[in-house]
């Protein structure tokens, strides 16, 4: 209460003074009157009254001291003084605010992203106790998922695991067709076990979740819906729970609405927007589908992930004996958090380090700038010192100025970060959890801290420098020291900038290398669109007839170069099957696996794939034809090393033998950075084992294809055509984003370092004007002077480069995992960074050097 009154008194200073003046005036009147009554003359009475009061000014001062907060009051003064000073030097203030803003903006943006990805708790309850339980750890999704019988057995049979559940990993994007109310739409549904949300600790905001009956095999249909879906399609209906949706023409009860904070895509499938979650039953039937489940477990209190992993291993061995006919289960247990964000951890740490460097460069740059200004303010400070300002007071004044600049810069930075975070969170990239990045109060706190740290960081050196000013002039030794500090700052800037340049250079080169890989298909001019109608066909013939008609209709369109069907597009999901060469016996754990694609005639042509041997499929590869198969080079080498694969036979349990009719080049199907592995292509007309189907077109117009398909099935919900290039772009988006951000930081750093060099050299030219004038008068040419200054520049830049490149040499190792096709000590990158920095430094030194060379010696000497 008292503090509040005091603070108010500080703010109402003028009014308080006025009131006191009035009060003292009446005091003096009363005292004068009393004195006069005692017999004094008018003048004498007044003088005696004032004397007893001890002087009005002094009384006012003690009053102020008594009522206010002394520190706050002087700070307020300092602040007002700082504002006045900055107004006098608008250019400098604007520059300082701009670069602090950029620096703080970049770091706060990176902080929000890193916070969302690495630091903040997962949007589930007690996420640290959740485990990701994967199978073997092979590349394809089939190798990493688990049969439902194993999951069922995990429930309640393990001493370390309180609960286990999961989701169906082979859900298809846009697999569900919603009809009925409103526009028909393709929805993405992820089937989950009945306990999935309670396992995660995600509580629905509306509804109570699945009923017991709904979680049973063949129970009534029910879905949980995402918050986004509820807003978008159910218009935030408070009575949404219990309503019925028509999905794939089956009525489905809405069992609940998930909270806004829970984003399944951000956690488990970055870049995917999931609308609904149906129940996936753990039944004998679903067990027969093979490896399907991504499994999540919750640790019992007191148990650790390592204990769970050990127990799970033993458990899996027991089960293998129990069910000899089942797929292998080799559990790999790790904390869910690690699974979710482990893959981008290094990248996030690198980004954090990089913005840290950027902030350091900003500090060095501003420190340098303010040091230069300190010289110009010499006289002003001298006067203040002469008037009795103490060393601390001067120092504090200087720090208040730099903190004010930093605070204004941070305000700008926050605005930039708000925009930056929104852009990053809105990107469709495969970086997990980034969609949840936001500028929250923690980010604001971080911005404030960053502002204070930078303010002190760049203000300290100038403040110390200025506080050393005495009332008299400065000596030459102080000037030398001053120059040394400024040189050291520039060297540091160059060093930091070269470190950033090398780091970003390596990542950019990796990115270029990734774009250069042989994809195995030609994405240009090719596009894909989902055409499976999402309704049941009476039989396989009717299903094939529909696809045949769609294919023929598209093929008949003008301008169409090639059209094909496939159930699997590159860089998406994958399934693997066993694929044995007939006549070969394989040991346990050595059974060959291959990725499966079910494709039609025209597919290889529409993708722009390269046939190496034999033929591609034709319309005749149907049920009347011989069971055929096309393999890629890797699978051919694996199954028949050194032999001609054409005409060889592939066996698969419970399926007809297939004869190899062609060999195609490998396609980068998993990721651009990964080798393909074995791949096999089955003719679509000879199998029913496929779910979603994409029509791949090369050439032709989207509108015409759309019309043709509509003519075939007016109820077909058509999503947008996806150019194959988009698939490639999405796959490289995390890499591109990080290269882009680091490249941006490095460019900013380079700019600041060159400004730093320019500032120092140009200052030294001004300082040495007289000396240079004398040397010119004695016969030195302008060219010689210019050369000398350029040498000085090179020495500074060289020192910084030396330090920076050495540091880069030591530090780029941490980038190892993010590089592709370049080594961490890539000579080309180091060379390019060196050349670029030297060039920029020379340019920054050239401008002042040219000014020196054009000095008029007579004028220069006359100036002094």
């Amino acid at each position: 209460m008292e503090l509040w009154r005091r603070a108010r008194a500080v703010l109402r200073g003028r009014a308080m003074d006025q009131e006191l003046d009035e009060e003292m005036a009446s005091h003096v009147e009363m005292a004068t009157e009393e004195n006069r009554r005692r017999g004094m003359s008018e003048a004498e009475a007044r003088r005696a009254a004032l004397a007893a009061l001890g002087g009005l000014a002094a009384a006012r001062e003690t009053h102020r001291e008594a009522r206010g907060i002394p520190l706050m009051e002087t700070l307020w003064q300092d602040l007002r003084y700082a504002l006045r000073t900055l107004r006098r030097d608008v250019g400098l203030a604007a520059f300082a605010i701009l670069i602090t803003g950029l620096g703080v903006g970049a770091s706060v943006t990176v902080f929000s992203v890193v916070h969302a990805i690495l630091l903040r708790d997962l949007p589930v309850a007690d996420g640290e106790r959740l485990l990701w339980i994967a199978n073997t750890g092979g590349d394809g999704l089939s190798a990493r998922t688990t049969q439902t019988a194993y999951l069922k057995d995990m429930q309640g049979n393990l001493s370390t695991l309180a609960e286990a559940g999961g989701y169906f990993a082979f859900y298809g994007i846009g697999d569900l067709k919603m009809t009925g109310a409103g526009e028909p739409e393709r929805l993405t549904g992820v089937p989950v076990t009945g306990n999935f949300f309670s396992l995660l600790g995600v509580v629905p905001v509306l509804g109570t979740g699945f009923t017991e009956a709904e979680t049973q095999p063949n129970g009534p249909d029910a879905v949980m819906v995402s918050h986004d879906f509820w807003e978008r399609r159910m218009h935030r209906d408070a009575g949404a729970a219990g309503r019925t949706l028509l999905l794939n023409e089956r009525p489905c009860r809405v069992a609940g609405v998930l909270p806004k904070t829970f984003d399944f895509g951000a956690m488990f499938a970055p870049g995917v927007r999931v609308d609904v979650f149906p129940v996936f039953p753990l039944s004998d039937q679903s067990n027969r589908w093979g490896n399907t489940m991504s499994v999540v477990g919750r640790l019992k209190p007191g148990a650790t992930a390592a204990e769970a992993a050990a127990e799970m291993k033993v458990f899996a061995r027991q089960l293998a004996k129990q069910y000899p006919g089942q797929n292998d289960f080799t559990p790999q247990v790790r904390p869910l958090r690690e699974y979710v964000s482990g893959s981008v951890r290094t990248a996030m740490l690198v980004l954090s380090g990089a913005v840290g460097l950027v902030l350091l460069i900003v500090c060095a740059n501003l420190s340098n700038l303010l040091l230069a200004r300190a010289t110009a303010r010499q006289k002003e400070i001298s006067i203040r010192v002469a008037l009795g300002a103490g060393r601390w007071r001067i120092m504090r004044q200087m720090l208040v100025e730099s903190l004010l600049l930093a605070a204004l810069g941070a305000a700008l930075g926050l605005a930039l970060a708000a925009a930056g975070t929104r852009v990053l969170a809105g990107l469709e990239t495969e970086i997990p959890m980034m969609a949840l990045a936001q500028l929250d109060w923690q980010a604001m706190g971080f911005a404030m801290t960053a502002a204070v740290v930078t303010g002190i960081g760049f203000g300290l050196a100038p403040a110390v420098r200025m506080s050393a000013v005495t009332g008299s002039d400065r000596g030459a030794s102080a000037t030398r020291q001053h120059t040394r500090v400024r040189n050291a700052l520039v060297v540091a800037e160059v060093a930091l900038a070269s470190l950033l340049l090398v780091g970003s250079g390596l990542l950019i080169r990796s990115f270029a290398r990734v774009l250069d890989v042989t994809l195995g298909f030609q994405p240009r001019q090719a596009a894909a669109v989902r055409i499976d109608p999402g309704r049941d066909f009476p039989n396989r013939e009717a299903r094939h007839a529909y696809y045949r008609a769609a294919l023929d209709a598209a093929r008949a369109l003008p301008g169409m170069e090639a059209v094909g069907l496939t159930d699997t597009l590159p860089l998406g999901k994958n399934r693997t099957w066993g694929a044995a060469a007939k006549g070969q016996v394989y040991g346990p754990g050595n059974f060959p696996l291959a990725y499966v694609r079910v494709v039609s005639d025209g597919f290889f042509e529409s993708m722009g794939m390269t046939l190496v041997q034999g033929r591609t499929f034709t319309a005749n590869d149907d049920k009347s034809g011989l069971p055929a198969i096309v393999v890629n080079e890797t699978l051919a080498r694996r199954l028949w090393p050194g032999e001609d694969p054409l005409g060889k036979v592939i066996l698969r349990a419970g399926a007809p033998e297939r004869v190899v009719v062609g060999v195609v080049k490998d396609v980068r199907h998993l990721a651009l950075e990964k080798e393909a592995g074995g791949e096999m292509y089955l003719p679509i007309w000879q199998t029913g084992d496929f779910s979603q189907v994409d029509l791949v077109t090369r050439g032709g117009s989207e509108a015409l294809v759309r019309n043709a398909l509509r003519g075939l099935d007016p109820a077909l919900p058509l999503t947008a055509f996806r150019p194959l290039q988009t698939l490639v772009d999405t796959a490289v988006s995390p890499r591109r984003l990080i290269a882009l951000l680091l490249g941006g930081f490095a460019t900013f750093a380079l700019l600041l370092a060159s400004l730093g060099i320019y500032g120092v050299i140009s200052y030294s030219v001004t300082q040495r004007r007289k000396e240079m004038g004398i040397r010119m008068a004695l016969g030195a040419t302008g060219a010689a002077l210019q050369q000398g200054i350029l040498w000085q520049t090179l020495r500074l830049a060289g020192a910084g480069l030396g330090v920076g490149l050495l540091a880069a040499w030591a530090l780029t190792r941490v980038l190892q995992g993010m590089l592709f096709g370049v080594t961490p000590s890539d000579p080309a990158t180091f060379g390019a960074a060196m050349a670029l920095l030297t060039g920029v430094a020379l340019l920054a030194g050239y401008l002042p050097a040219r000014r020196a060379a054009r000095l008029n010696p007579v004028e220069t000497l006359r100036l002094e």
């Binding site: 008292e2 005091r6 008194a9 003292m24 005091h27 009363m30 005292a31 009393e34 009061l53 001890g54």
Partner: protein, 113 residues
């Protein structure tokens, strides 16, 4: 005899006591009253009264209100508050005790052995 310098904090107690016995009073009145009661023994810089008054006010021990003096002059009148009365009681006890202790400490030694 030269006048006494005031100890830290004593002026505030004097002001509270004055207001407690005299009721509402303006700054000049308080200063004069203290000078009179002390038998003109304290060296009171009247200007410091106002610093003491604003401090007491901020602590909530006295209240102030503008009014008119007996000679029809505008003046700010101070009154002691409930909290101020309580504080005065505590302060008075403290000072009494202190002066007693000081008296004993400084008393001439009677039975030295």
């Amino acid at each position: 005899m030269s006048k006494m310098e005031l100890l830290q904090g004593t002026l505030e107690v004097m002001v509270l006591q004055t207001l407690a016995t005299m009721g509402a009073l303006h700054g000049y009145g308080i200063a004069r009253r203290i000078e009179q009661v002390s038998g003109n023994q304290v060296l009171l810089n009247q200007g410091t009264i106002y610093a003491a008054l604003v401090r007491l006010q901020q602590r909530g021990w006295i209240a102030a209100k503008w009014g008119t003096s007996e000679n029809n002059r505008r003046a700010k009148y101070y009154t002691i508050t409930k909290a101020g009365t309580k504080q005065l009681a505590a302060d008075a006890a403290y000072w009494r005790q202190l002066s007693e202790v000081m008296g004993r400490v400084l008393a001439p030694v009677e039975d030295a052995e």
